[in-house]
């Protein structure tokens, strides 16, 4: 980072310290990593073994058929995080957070989940360390994505449709509207309250630096894999929900001054890059966590119901926000039609069904590759395919009906 990262802070009118709250709900090693800025944090042996067990290092794949299809002189590689058992990069931080919890004698983990990727990662990680887990899943997802719920339950998690009557906050919401469809903010509030009142620990899935730190295994592996292939990357691309997959993937490259262009891709429907402000704001909608300085549409922003559930977030990690403000990281925003086309091109050439979130990165890659063709540049483009879309097929079906022409 070129400049100091503004620290988290409590709101001016705070009745209680959110920063102090962190201490009660998060595993302390996780907090230590959050606030101990070291260039390299060693991965404990047990976590390294767990990474191997879930198939790390994930493959770095040359997308030859995509190159052929685009008829581009550019080389395209992707780091395939969908190869992990839970199908996305989320497990990279769930595992160490669960491990540190276990080391600290915690026996029960709590978190919230929207689309379900994060909850799945926590459920598996908890089980791998013999811990129980409780997941507050946004009710509308709970009902629309029964498969996500099933996989978490198979991993041994208890899954609640939030709002629940297990927390005061949930009860309050239900009191006002017994048919409330839930939201990520409510689920997060419930998870934090539930962790607090039961003495469990809460795991955090994105935005915080510690998550980006854990995700940096993606970029570090990719750097090594490119080295083994004797490739020098030029353009690095990733999609941004909270920023953890993008940061984890690109920051090691940025830090090592590898690559000349870094593209963070968001959703046109959730225009945080084009319309967001760079301000102190709450990472959570409920305002339970400390304020951080980030690009944000405001914590009260209600994201439209796009298919890329993982991008339905009002902010972006503070570190990423600063890099964008400083002009070190570029950004793009694409609409659903554009990303559906990109997903189709990718799955018909490479076979892998990408998560709709990851398809945003693919769209930017396709545009870079086409530009390389026009300019006849032999660029090396590397992107992070943060997850597969096998559990998003109902979304794709709707997209096909709504957007698809073939």
């Amino acid at each position: 980072l070129p400049k100091p990262l503004p620290p988290p802070r409590d709101p001016p009118d705070a009745e209680f310290s959110r920063i102090d709250l962190l201490r009660k709900i998060m595993p302390s090693e996780v907090l230590r990593q959050q606030f101990t800025v070291e260039r390299f944090v060693p991965i404990p042996k047990e976590v390294r073994e767990a990474y191997i067990n879930i198939g790390r290092p994930t493959p770095l794949v040359r997308a030859r058929r995509l190159e052929e299809f685009l008829n581009t002189p550019a080389k395209i590689y992707f780091k395939y995080e969908g190869a992990t058992p839970t199908g996305s990069h989320k497990i990279n931080t769930a595992l160490p957070q669960a491990y540190f919890s276990m080391k600290e004698g915690v026996d029960h983990l709590v978190t919230e989940t929207g689309a379900g990727q994060w909850g799945t990662a926590v459920a598996l990680s908890a089980r791998m360390y013999g811990l129980n887990s409780t997941i507050f899943m946004v009710k509308v997802s709970y009902e629309q994505k029964p498969q996500r719920r099933t996989i978490m339950q198979l991993y041994g998690a208890r899954v609640f449709a939030s709002p629940t009557s297990h927390t005061e906050y949930g009860k309050k919401v239900l009191n006002e509207n017994p048919n409330h469809p839930g939201s990520l903010g409510i689920a997060m509030s419930e998870a934090i309250e539930y962790a607090l009142s039961n003495g469990y620990k809460y795991l955090v899935g994105s935005v915080l630096d510690v998550v980006v730190l854990h995700q940096s295994v993606i970029g570090l592996e990719a750097m090594k894999q490119l080295q083994e292939l004797d490739e020098e990357p030029d353009v690095l691309v990733g999609c941004v929900g909270g920023g953890s997959n993008f940061g984890g993937f690109t920051f090691p490259f940025i830090g090592s001054k590898k690559g000349s262009k870094y593209i963070a891709v968001g959703s046109y429907e959730i225009p945080k890059f084009s319309k967001g402000a760079y301000n102190y704001d709450f990472p959570d909608s409920a305002g339970l966590l400390p304020l951080v300085k980030m690009i944000t549409l405001g914590r009260d922003y209600v994201p439209p119901p796009i298919y890329s559930g993982g991008l339905r977030y009002h902010g972006a990690a503070p570190s990423l926000s600063m890099l964008i403000k400083e002009g070190i990281v570029d950004w793009r925003e694409y609409n659903e039609k554009e990303i559906f086309e990109a997903a189709q091109i990718f799955l018909q050439t490479q076979g892998i069904v990408p998560a709709p979130e990851s398809s945003h990165a693919i769209r930017a890659v396709i545009e870079e590759a086409r530009e390389a063709k026009i300019k006849n540049e032999k660029k090396v483009i590397v992107f992070n395919l943060s997850g597969h879309g096998l559990l998003d097929l109902p979304n794709y079906e709707s997209m096909m009906k709504r957007i698809g022409q073939d």
């Binding site: 400049k3 100091p4 001016p12 920063i19 102090d20 090693e29 907090l31 101990t36």
Partner: protein
């Protein structure tokens, strides 16, 4: 080097003056005096409580500053948010100089005014005041190195993101690393609250420690005298006893 912090006017005028005198007698090398800010954005809950209490009665802080100056003879460094003075900075600095203040520390300098920090450092110095610069783990290494050369008296390094909340951090590895970047004197604080942390910091190469939150907590619990005893204890640790 023992840098002791006191919130100006806390817990009340009389006890405050007893406190600052006591802290100096107990062996503080420098006093850091916190001025009630409009928004204590980078402070933790304990310091905030002290500000809240002060805000109930203190109106003329300049005269209390003058009294402080008269009460003790160690260097006085004022901790205050640049944000509160940014429209009237030259006058404020001039007046501080008049009162006999030795240095100024803006905790928000490298955060909210990062693009112009050199201008403000020069401004402080141009009034004959010492500019003490506050850094933290989130300040990039090259910048720490750079500002350590222009920071007067010492470089302040806060190990925790906020004061007084004992978030877990690795004090030793943080300081071992920053030590290599800093030729200046290095004072570590901002939540360095337990004896173990303090010893680690010194062992890792810190030249001094800055203490604040623990005094206020001690005052809340047992009063001013007890806080002064703590200072004596810290002095002992610094002297290696």
């Amino acid at each position: 080097m023992l840098v002791s912090y006191a919130t100006l006017g806390y817990p009340n005028k009389e006890d405050y003056l007893r406190l600052v005198k006591g802290l100096v007698e107990a062996g503080s090398d420098i006093l850091e005096i916190g001025l009630l800010p409009k928004y204590a954005k980078y402070d933790g809950p304990v310091i905030r409580r002290s500000y809240k209490q002060v805000s109930t009665w203190l109106t003329d802080f300049w005269s209390l500053l003058e009294e402080t100056r008269r009460a003790v003879d160690v260097p006085l460094v004022i901790l205050t948010y640049l944000e509160d003075w940014v429209t009237s900075l030259p006058d404020t600095l001039a007046r501080m100089k008049d009162v006999g203040i030795n240095g100024v520390l803006f905790p928000d300098l490298l955060i909210d005014f990062i693009d112009e920090y050199e201008k403000y450092v020069n401004e402080i110095k141009s009034h004959g005041l010492n500019a003490v610069i506050f850094t933290s783990p989130s300040v990039p290494d090259p910048l720490i190195h750079k500002v350590s050369k222009i920071s007067d008296m010492f470089l302040y390094y806060g190990v925790r993101p906020t004061t007084g909340v004992p978030l877990p951090v690795s004090v030793d590895s943080l300081i071992t690393r920053v030590r290599t970047l800093v030729n200046n004197k290095l004072v570590v604080g901002f939540g360095l609250s337990d004896i173990e942390d303090m010893k680690k910091a010194l062992r890792a190469g810190a030249d001094g420690v800055a203490i604040g939150t623990v005094y206020i907590e001690e005052i809340e619990r047992n009063g001013v005298e007890s806080a002064i005893s703590l200072a004596r204890k810290f002095r002992g640790i610094l002297d290696g006893s």
